[in-house]
Symmetry: D3
Subunit: 210 residues, 6 copies
């Protein structure tokens, strides 16, 4: 079985990290390829960034439909997920939807960690779209006070706030760029930590097996 | 005051009708221009159709921001409305959101008339996004039995079903292509009939006046 | 076109301010008259205050139906709005409903500024009625610490708290008595500020034009 | 203990029936008095009817507060219930809210029987206000085909439709004028049948005992 | 009339307190018996504790159905309430559902006081089940800073926080073990304080009278 | 990796079918064992049936925790899922929750096929619990008219009704006893058909891999 992860941005470094973490999870049970979207922003932060990726994502989807068994959209905003589901006859899973819905299965409430304050309302809107706003504990970005910390320290501290102050029972990494960070957070925290890439992969693989 | 209606499709006939009906409503109180989206499908029926219009709509918005006081997105699916709101510093109103929210102010429940069955779930999803699914009576497309009727007869009959069977107290025209039909339906029906283009225009004009 | 604003209270000063601000907005494009409710409390603060205005408001509506093209209920609690919509065959718009629904079109979340703590749950209840509680950032009244400030400073500081702490992207003035304050707040804040009287006016005028 | 039922209309016959059924339920365990509202419509069918009763209801409440231990608002629309709760320091229960909330405790879904089609959306709105629209099976008024039947046959047939077609597991009588009909319906149907007057009485009495 | 309170735990002391407070409320108007569940945990704190009580509760229900007129489940988590409602042909009322729904009738928002932090999400989940999460002000357990206070002081302080910080207008005792505490809290606080045992009793008694 | 499916009933035939279909899906990628619950009803149809399985399920879970990497609860009602999640430190997935949440990822609306009318409100309640009632098209049991048809014909006809009349875009098999039927339905229908056992397996396996 072969799964294509469509990375909606054009950053080779992020594409590479997604690819590596996906392979780490797949462990050879299935093949996984991450392709960057041609003509797309380097990072997806705004609604406009998402729009700019539309044409390239559709092109990538159409060119690859026959070569893959399932598709993952590798950005936590789930850009153009409705389109991808519509045009592809094979399973398509967004890392946002996958991790949010799996999170809702693992605890009473979950929090999403995101990279910066600007994206908080976009994540909240997505959670509303998936009907799970009532069980969202919070969306949190690391505060300025962590600016000098390592990525790991920063998100660890932010997750701890979500657990303690917002009573989150599950932590969701709210950006594909954080892929892999779940492992270190999980070691430190006493709650499930979800990487959307991983959640989307096992759902996509599962659906492709049916 | 000048309002730009961005018609997300490229059909000159639909652009012309929107323009004429908009001018009819504006009656010279404000200037209104409808521009078709360059590089866009002739008709917006699917999610993919919406995606294909993204780049052209953004281009149109950026090119015209300084020349207009407010913007209307002239397709009832409200394609890329979040992007348009984000990138334009001036008021932007979608005809779907405008007519749905105004409809919710005029009766206990409203129905949306759409062109074909395929678009029903897309309209329902939009109503959920706007938090008004509890007061949606129905989304209805004319049945096959009206195939030989005139447009007016077709939608009149469909509206009557919505009023009688679904207890709709307000009718919303669910497609910019139906613009103008509200007048004839209103003459026959005893309930408010809303044309999204008109609703979006008066909200956009109002916001631009502030 | 002529619009009647029914001020549900009997305070001549508030009626005068509403009238002036409404005319400022209308700029001669339409005629607008604000009438105080005969036999009504000087200020509408409680549910009982609203009830006391019922008979006078109905009388005012009936006496004026033939003389005006649309009606605005000029209190942010939207007192007796259901009755007014029921008995008048012409458009009726409440300033609460108008500003709350327009606010939901201009940002992910909005906050309402109100005059005192007692009215907070009444405003929240209204937002629930309009199905928009999920996108309400907060309802805030100026704290005691602003007692010695000017009206403008007081509400400016309160709006800033709503923006900063509750992540409001739109500010709604939650009292007809605050009409006009939107202009000075807008100058200071980087988000839309809505005066319900203005929102209701442009919706009512728009509906009357159809 | 003494409970006052405020009948928001002025129909002596309905007041008498409410009084009798209330006494039947009270069986001397507590005293119950039903007073008609001075200056009120003979029957509460519309929003305007409710408004017309406001002043008289407030007068009745204030005059009687010291003489009674709890209050019941005897109309299924719960007219002015918010006001009554606000001004009276003693328990106040609406027969609509009481029966709707008790119904939600007795089955997965409930239906409301009402006197005519016009009131259906008003009842639905009330159920939304009480947050229970998701568990409302239906609101039904007897169809024209039952015009020549007795009251009992009419509502029995209507209840059977609600049970069979809408899968109602509980039936709520949606009008104080139907008080007492629950007994005969209960004999025929295999589901709980709730008279709002009775539900409100036992809640009011319970709260007064605390 | 005879009401059986099924105490889902096996703590004789708690059973005794429930019995005494229930009799205090019943004042001889009806007979009330509280029976502990055979083979059940001493205290119901977790989901597992609830499960362990299932068999004993069903046994108690079946053995006593013919001897009692109505049943109360005496734990605020409402364990196995769906089962009890299903198997008993007579009224069954949970103290959680009863007090939560009555609370929603007495103010805009209510708070639940619970014994410890662990139970907060379980109570929140219950409020969601009853569709009232939008009007839940908070669930609060006494903080560590009150460890040395008396039970009364502890919950009084916690209730005050709920009223002041969360704007609760009604307080619900979230544990059968707190039965009776409502009287002293009510004396100190200016809002209704509800003991679920009492609420369930008057609803059960009312339903049994029909 | 080893996954234990806890079949909450005691029917050896159903246990065997679940085991076989689970192995078919696992195809040796992971080991899967289905164990029947000791002391449980032969079929789980009512709330009481679920309660009767509680003790045995907990025993099974505790005895097997160290031997398996993840757990699936093999009944579409998700009996005691909250308890299982609470007591097991390893992933636990209910086939109801898994298939309902995956269904919500594959189309605008989904329908659940169940074995008989009695279970419809129990399934609806479950969908409400998972916050997805707004996107539930229907729950349908085969009508009497299909009594003489084969299982496959029966559910095929029922699924076709859900697709045509309720506009379901995804079909969920609402009973573990229907496991395997998804393959034949999928061949005939043009929409995704989900077997909860399969959905739960791939989620459980995915979570166990993390």
């Amino acid at each position: 079985m072969k799964i294509l992860i469509i990375n909606p941005n054009s950053d080779p470094q992020m594409g590479k990290e997604i690819q590596e973490n996906a392979e780490d999870f797949a462990k050879g049970r299935f093949e996984v390829v991450c392709k960057n979207t041609p003509v797309a922003p380097a990072f997806i932060e705004t609604y406009e960034d998402m729009s700019k990726a539309a044409a390239g994502m559709i092109q990538l989807a159409r060119e690859n439909e026959s070569k893959f068994d399932a598709f993952v959209i590798g950005c936590h905003y789930d850009p153009h997920l409705d389109v991808m589901k519509e045009i592809l006859k094979k399973p398509v899973v967004g890392i946002g939807e996958a991790s949010i819905k799996i999170a809702s299965m693992l605890g009473h409430q979950f929090s999403i960690l995101t990279t910066d304050d600007h994206s908080i309302p976009i994540h909240e809107e997505l959670v509303r779209k998936y009907n799970l706003y009532e069980v969202l504990a919070s969306v949190r970005a690391p505060g300025r006070e962590f600016d000098k910390c390592s990525e790991e320290e920063k998100y660890l501290a932010t997750a701890r706030l979500a657990i303690k102050k917002d009573r989150a029972e599950v932590i969701v990494l709210g950006c594909a760029g954080l892929t892999g960070l779940d492992r270190s957070l999980r070691r430190e925290l006493n709650v499930p930590v979800l990487d959307g890439v991983v959640c989307a992969l096992f759902i996509a693989a599962g659906l492709a097996e049916i």
